[in-house]
Symmetry: C2
Subunit: 279 residues, 2 copies
């Protein structure tokens, strides 16, 4: 049985349509701003689906409240499916005195949840902070399904070496070539992207990353690919954490931009619901 | 050493003026809405002061992030001082399927904090949910100090039996009489207040409660006291969780309204800082 948090409402209809059994929940706010939740039913094993995009902290606290309500009603095993995991980019101490925020959130969720499922975590190693079974789900299958025909005999690229595994996972599903760009820091504020080592002339190209925020990297990569003679340039990402105006800027620079619906955005055209229902 | 969260900024100047040693912290927000915290220094034992009024969930998550940063920098013992504790009124399951929200928050804080100090918790029994030393601090001393002279040979009253201990604590400090009103439910939506069993004629009266939200009870009690011939009517509460317009409505009905600064409001004239510094 699934319980849908307010950060996963956009997935509910599709989950139901595909046969997901949903336990209804009432989620509202008291006049003083506190959240009120109530689960309308119970089960021994329950999976709470909650994506933790903005307002991140409200979505997180809601998960704790829902879990407390489910335990109170006798749930023995609680699974958390968190398609977009808040604070995942705060995965290390960059300046002394900073927290490892993703660790703090994982530890907090582990108070109530036995298992954690996320999509394409920024740093999968941080799953170790969750005391319990923790799984990083890949969106490569749904991204490959979405772009496969459009790409034809194209190439899949990562914007940098760190994202290569993501490009590889999509490319292998489609039997295509893959590679990554090199980023060279030319000054403290400027990064130059070097052309890739594969021939993209006349080919369609898909660039894959985990998160798009400003979209600057994607736009630079797309422009470089045009110069190199690429035919169509597509951009895919798991999480559309778009900064103001980023969707428009990236869309203008490429032939198609599509992200998954871990976060609901106007370009969240690729659904992770089928992957959730496999759990 | 103290670290001040963004829900306790209004206490910082007074804490410093009274000799509190503060470890500076940087608290801001990333463009995507996530909180960023950084502690600028460290200590073996640190007390995080954070009141969790609106936005409650952000204040709570901030406490977790601050604690993670402090542990990372080597803090061995962490104390949380939470002057106003969010979700404290959700202390029992009223309708099947609800969480005991205050339990959920206490359990979450216990992941990082060894000790918890709160002021005048709505239901002090719920402190048992915190796995560690948990203390309910009384504002009776600072309330008595503030209203003592104004009250003279007056009477201290609680608006209902449940709040009697609060009135008693203030009255005993001032050597005054105390009692409580009786609330009689006359219909599902209507509660009638019965006159108190002490003579208030010609006397000043202080009504004490833990939380004022709509202020309806306080206004009814004040009107009743006027009918009974009371001289001046004062109202004090620990937490000013005021609904829209409540400060104005209560102020109009009484001679003076004053709450403590566990929540910053225009009538938070009674400071709990001296009590915090005693810890």
């Amino acid at each position: 049985m699934f319980v849908i948090g307010s950060g996963a409402r956009h997935l509910e209809d599709e989950m139901k349509a595909l046969g997901g059994r949903i336990l209804d929940a009432e989620i509202k706010r008291f006049p003083d701003g506190e959240k009120y939740v109530r689960v309308l039913g119970s089960s021994e094993e329950v999976t709470v689906v909650q994506s933790t995009f903005r307002p991140q902290d409200e979505h997180l606290v809601e998960m704790i409240l829902l879990a407390d309500a489910l335990r109170e009603r006798g749930a023995r095993k609680l699974r958390a499916v968190v398609p977009y995991f808040a604070y995942s980019r705060q995965d290390r101490v960059t300046k002394e005195g900073e927290p490892v925020s993703v660790r703090a959130v994982m530890r907090t969720l582990a108070v109530y949840y036995d298992e954690l499922y996320v999509f394409d975590l920024h740093n999968p190693e941080t799953l170790k902070f969750f005391q319990g079974k923790a799984v990083n789900l890949s969106p490569a299958g749904v991204i490959a399904d979405y772009f496969g025909e459009k790409l034809g005999e194209g190439v899949v690229l990562a914007p940098d070496k760190g994202a290569l595994m993501r490009a590889k996972a999509v490319a292998e599903r489609l039997g295509l070539e893959y590679s990554h760009f090199h980023k060279v820091r030319v000054s403290p504020t400027e990064v130059r992207m070097e052309p890739v080592d594969v021939d993209v002339k006349g080919k369609n190209v898909l660039i894959v990353d985990d998160i798009i925020s400003t979209g600057g990297t994607m736009i630079r990569a797309a422009n470089l690919l045009r110069e190199m003679g690429a035919e169509k340039v597509f951009v895919a990402a798991t999480h559309g954490v778009f900064a103001e105006g980023a969707i428009e800027r990236v869309s203008k620079a490429v032939d198609e931009l599509a992200v998954t619906n871990t976060i609901p955005t106007p370009v969240s055209k690729i659904s992770v619901v089928p992957e959730i229902l496999k759990l």
